[in-house]
């Protein structure tokens, strides 16, 4: 028979029946059900196994604080572990599976851990698995991880989309219970921009779980009317299924909206979840309170629940957790549970109230001054043992026990700026003591537990918040509501011989806290880390305060002196997928395409990521099966004819103003002030500490107009640095900067036939002969019949070479024009691999050498550093330690045996010396196969390298076990006199 424990009434839609499966068995529920409520309705109490002892567990709560009822939800790629059955909404076809058990939930082999519990106390890992040390990684840790577990990830890519969103408001109301709804109504009617967010799918908060009346009508009528009015106000946004999980600086909140978690599959075009960043001028925390249990022997059996949860299941979901129910309480709220259950037709077998002066409950068996000392029932509660005020004990049969140890205000967000709460004796709970600026607290979150107090507190909180912003608001007519005082006599534990659970998710018992106390882990932060109290996915929402109280009893201190640990975001777990949003896979970061990208794709280019850029790495041709074949061909074609490479990615910064030359002269360590118009100069930029920051070219187009280039990697950082110098160091200089990296498409045209090729696309009116446009010339030209372009005669390859730039939108046209014009010249496109080979052959430093740890002297460029001017980095570059004669110098390396290969990262050692750090002579920074040399070559840093040319040195790679001999040569392997590039 299905739904044996379903009562009448409630907020579920009985007109629709939904089928779902738990551990392979089919059940039925209704819209409005959570997985936990539907399973309880079907008589299922056992929903999980505990983390360490594999104890059988059922739901403790009816909300997001749930420690026990964690399941794997859905199947296949959408399988999601550690989902709380108490908040997962049932949908047609839902598949849920219990976790951390084998072979089944009812018969779990590892429940043997429970028998071994005396060995598995707090700190047992640290004490037990100490020796032998090597066993930890290979044996102990994997075994422990298998035994102590949560659910399994799907191991497949998440098929759903997660979005990020940004919202602004005058007032953010966190929680849509009585306080939150009254606040939203007040602020909404005042015309303020309001966001109300609630983690539940049904607004109303605790009002949905109670039988109380507002203005003598069911509370749901007022909730419905208020929600309907809020929905009609365009200035109010009511967000359900939305958890505000963190309070960050300056009124910024993080919120997670579970847009599609209640559906089998998200609707087309909608995300699974949205991570919201909320900017609130003011905020009001109306997050309610969470009930806490009492520790007594075997208080973790399925069927033992929080009293308020038992009541919520009966009132909201029309579910009795069992036919016979008892209640154990230390406060008046437990009586409400007993009354409501009885009214719903559930048999209440006993109300055990630890207070000797507990008020009478009409028609129900009340045990004053009594406590529950034990329970029975292996896979579900069968009976409880009650010790009466006179000391006699008796056993009472029941299938469910509601426990109330009092209520804790949900004040977490008030402490996200490291605030600490204050202990309030009257409600025996921590209450907020201050909050982040702009955040107020109302209702149960502030420790005001009556419905009247919540309604008025919410409305007044909203009015006060709006008053800060100069928005007048009037209090709405609030309905009459109960205003009963909250009466409690604290009871944290019932002492006994057996284990009494405090943190059910992490299996922390009173004994563990006692052990922590004995071993002097008494500070609350030590207690937490030693026992793992509150460190599970529920963050100890039901566990922490009782455990702190037990520690207070042990130390003889008041609870407020034991204090709380620091509350940090998130309030409830946030999936990594939601934090990542759309930044995953190919969209992990923006991708920048060069102007010739589509053309290169057509040529079948292989691409490589360089920063955010996609650059052509090489261009394979039919018949080439190995990248080296393509690269060798591209290198030789460039050296023998002409090659073209897209170099748009190099940073380009436009510098203008009457002081532009003076400005650049202070940025580069070599002279720039006297650079002639129409000329280019290599520039070396230092950091203020004297290390090399970047290099590039400086081109003077007119008297007051320069274009400088940076390396691809440093384009953004150099521009930032230049703006710093301009605004912060020399603010009165007349100079303006703009990054034009994306504005100009730029191609390197290199090789002995480069001029001939360019003359075919550059308009005849522009003379680029060697006489009119010599090496290191620059200037404006026109191409293809009048298109403005810039030409720079610079060479990274050592060949006669140019860089030609056109407005970016013409880049695709220019590469096609150049390729078409150069067919008979053998024009060959080349990629970054060939670019690298060409520069290594020429001995130009690049990223491998300019790694932030090298000086100009290391690079052999020490003479570039001006001795007569002040520029960034010059002063500290003169420090003694950076100018040692035995310091590293850039050298070229050539294997003695042509068959040997030099690899990057290999170390340079003197023959016969031990291969260790003490005898290290330097290392290889760049290497390649040089078609020009006809073998492997390398660049590297070598101690006194400038004076060791010709020496034979060992190139040692201990990782690969290789040791080859190489000759120290000039880093410039090709045309050291520079004849080619001046030709």
């Amino acid at each position: 028979m299905s739904q044996v424990n379903r009562l009448s009434g409630g907020r579920v839609d009985r007109g629709t029946t939904l089928s779902f499966a738990f551990d392979g068995k089919l059940y039925q529920g209704h819209p409005g059900d959570t997985l936990a409520s539907a399973l309880l309705a079907n008589g299922v109490r056992l929903m999980g196994r505990s983390f360490k002892y594999h104890r059988p567990r059922g739901p403790l709560s009816a909300g997001s604080e749930e420690p026990n009822a964690l399941v794997e939800l859905r199947s296949g790629a959408r399988r999601e572990p550690n989902t709380r059955a108490t908040v997962a909404e049932v949908f047609e076809g839902l598949v849920a599976t219990s976790q951390n058990r084998w072979p089944s939930l009812a018969v779990d082999a590892l429940s043997v851990n429970d028998r071994l519990s005396s060995f598995l106390t707090a700190g047992f890992y640290y004490k037990t698995f100490m020796w032998p040390k090597a066993f930890w990684e290979k044996l102990y840790e994997p075994a422990i991880r298998r035994a102590a577990g949560l659910g399994r990830l799907s191991g497949e890519a998440d098929p759903d989309v997660y979005d990020k969103g940004f919202l602004h408001c005058d007032l953010l109301v966190i929680g849509a219970g009585p306080a939150g709804l009254a606040a939203a109504l007040t602020a909404g009617r005042a015309g303020a921009r309001v966001i109300v967010a609630d983690e539940d799918f049904l607004p109303g908060g605790r009002l949905n779980a109670e039988t109380i009346t507002l203005d003598d009508a069911p509370a749901r009528d007022w909730v419905a009317a208020t929600v309907s009015e809020l929905a009609s106000l365009p200035n109010v946004r009511l967000m359900t299924r939305t958890t505000v999980y963190g309070a960050f600086d300056h009124g910024i909140f993080g919120a997670l909206e579970r847009v599609s978690d209640h559906l089998a599959v998200p609707k087309p075009g909608t995300p699974r979840q949205i991570l919201w960043r909320l900017y609130a001028k003011r905020s009001l925390l109306c997050a309610g309170a969470t009930e806490r249990p009492i520790a007594f022997e075997n208080n973790d059996r399925p069927g033992i629940m929080l009293a308020g949860a038992l009541r919520a299941y009966a009132n909201r979901w029309a579910v009795a957790a069992a036919r016979d129910v008892a209640v154990f309480t230390n406060n008046d709220d437990g009586h409400r549970t007993a009354r409501d259950l009885a009214a719903a037709g559930v048999h209440v077998t006993a109300v055990i109230d630890s207070r000797t002066d507990a008020p009478e409950i009409a028609g129900l068996p009340l045990f004053r001054g009594a406590v529950v000392t034990g329970t029975s029932g292996r896979l579900g509660l069968k009976s409880i043992t009650v010790r009466n005020a006179d000391g006699r004990t008796q056993e009472i049969a029941c299938g469910a026990l509601g426990v109330s140890g009092g209520w804790n205000p949900n004040l977490q967000l008030t402490c996200h700026h490291r605030g600490r709460p204050r202990w309030d004796e009257t409600i025996a709970a921590f209450v907020p003591d201050g909050a982040p600026p702009g955040l107020r607290v109302a209702g149960a979150a502030a420790g005001i537990f009556s419905t009247h107090g919540a309604l008025t507190g919410g409305a007044e909180g909203a009015r006060a918040a709006l008053a800060d912003l100069g928005i007048p608001a009037t209090l709405p007519d609030l309905p009459r509501a109960e205003d009963a005082p909250f009466r409690i006599a604290p009871l944290w534990q019932v002492k006994g011989k057996g284990r009494a659970w405090l943190d059910q998710q992490n299996d922390v018992t009173v004994k563990d806290v006692t052990l922590a106390h004995q071993e002097n882990f008494r500070s609350v932060e030590h207690l937490k880390r030693y026992t793992t109290l509150g460190m599970a996915t529920d963050q100890g929402k039901t566990a922490n305060v009782p455990a702190i109280a037990v520690m207070a009893e042990l130390t003889g201190k008041p609870i407020e002196q034991v204090g709380t640990t620091i509350y940090r975001p998130p309030y409830t777990p946030v999936a990594i997928g939601a934090l990542a949003g759309r930044s995953r896979g190919a969209d992990f970061r923006p991708r920048r395409l060069t102007p010739s990208h589509h053309w290169a794709q057509e040529q079948g280019a292989v691409f490589v990521e360089v920063g955010n850029w996609m650059r052509a790495q090489w261009f394979p041709r039919p018949g080439e099966s190995h990248w080296r074949q393509s690269v060798d061909r591209e290198v030789l074609a460039t050296r023998q004819a002409v090659g073209i490479c897209d170099v748009t990615t190099l940073g380009k910064i436009d510098v203008q103003g009457t002081d532009a030359a003076a400005f650049l002269d202070r940025l580069y360590c070599n002279g720039m002030a006297k650079l002639a118009i129409g000329r280019v100069r290599y520039g070396l930029m230092l950091r203020e500490d004297g290390m090399v920051k970047d290099d590039g070219t400086v081109a003077r187009l007119t008297e007051n107009h320069f274009v400088v280039t940076t390396t691809t990697a440093n384009a953004i950082a150099v521009f930032r640095h230049m703006e710093f110098c301009r605004q912060c160091l020399w603010p009165a200089l007349d100079v303006q900067l703009i990054s034009t990296t994306d504005a100009w498409a730029q191609f390197s045209v290199a090789g002995p036939k480069s001029r001939e090729l360019l003359q075919r696309v550059i308009d005849p009116a522009c003379d680029i002969s060697n006489e009119a446009f010599p090496y290191m010339a620059c200037g404006a030209v026109t191409v293809c019949g009048g298109l403005r372009a810039r030409l720079f005669r610079i060479s990274f390859s050592g060949e006669l070479a140019y860089e030609i730039a056109v407005p970016a939108r013409y880049g695709d046209g220019l590469i096609r024009a150049l390729m078409a014009a150069g067919q008979d010249l053998g024009v060959t496109p080349y990629g970054t691999e060939t670019l690298g080979v060409l520069r290594i052959e020429k001995g130009h430093p690049a990223g491998n050498e300019l790694n932030g740890q090298t000086t100009a002297a290391n690079l052999g460029l020490g003479k570039m550093v001006s001795a007569t001017k002040d520029a960034i980095g010059i002063t500290l570059s003169r420090r003694e330690g950076m100018n040692r004669p035995d310091d590293l110098r850039l050298v070229g390396l050539k294997p003695l045996s042509p068959a040997d290969t030099i690899v990057n990262g290999a170390h340079l050692m003197t023959g016969g010396s031990p291969v260790d750090a003490a005898h290290d002579q330097g290392w290889v920074t760049s290497s390649c196969h040089s078609p020009h040399v006809g073998g492997s070559i390398g660049l590297g840093f070598l101690k006194r390298g400038d004076r060791r040319t010709g020496e034979i040195i060992h190139v040692v790679n201990p990782l690969a076990g290789t040791d080859i001999r190489a000759q120290v040569v000039s880093p410039c392997f090709i045309d050291p006199e520079g004849v080619r590039l001046r030709g």
């Binding site: 700026h417 710093f724 605004q727 912060c728 020399w730 009165a732 002040d870 500290l876 420090r879």
Partner: protein, 95 residues
Amino acid sequence: MLIPHPLLGLRDAQEFTYLGDAALIDRPDGLAADAAGRFFDYGYLRDNPAGEHRELWFHEQGDRSWLVVTRNITTHEIVRVELARDVALARGRGR
């Protein structure tokens, strides 16, 4: 965090890049006789107050202004925000 930009109003800190102590504005003269010692102090010695700190932020995803933000680093309260250029001029920096 939200940074009240003097020209653009409240802007999310995500739009900015952080550099560090605003004392970096006071770059010594590299041609002075005692330049080495002054640059050592400038480059390596920083105050680390637990409280108000003047620091440089760059509005990289915005108008590219360098700002001097006076921020209480224990509470993240932002006390004052100025254009770094104005601060530099007021501190006697010019050409």
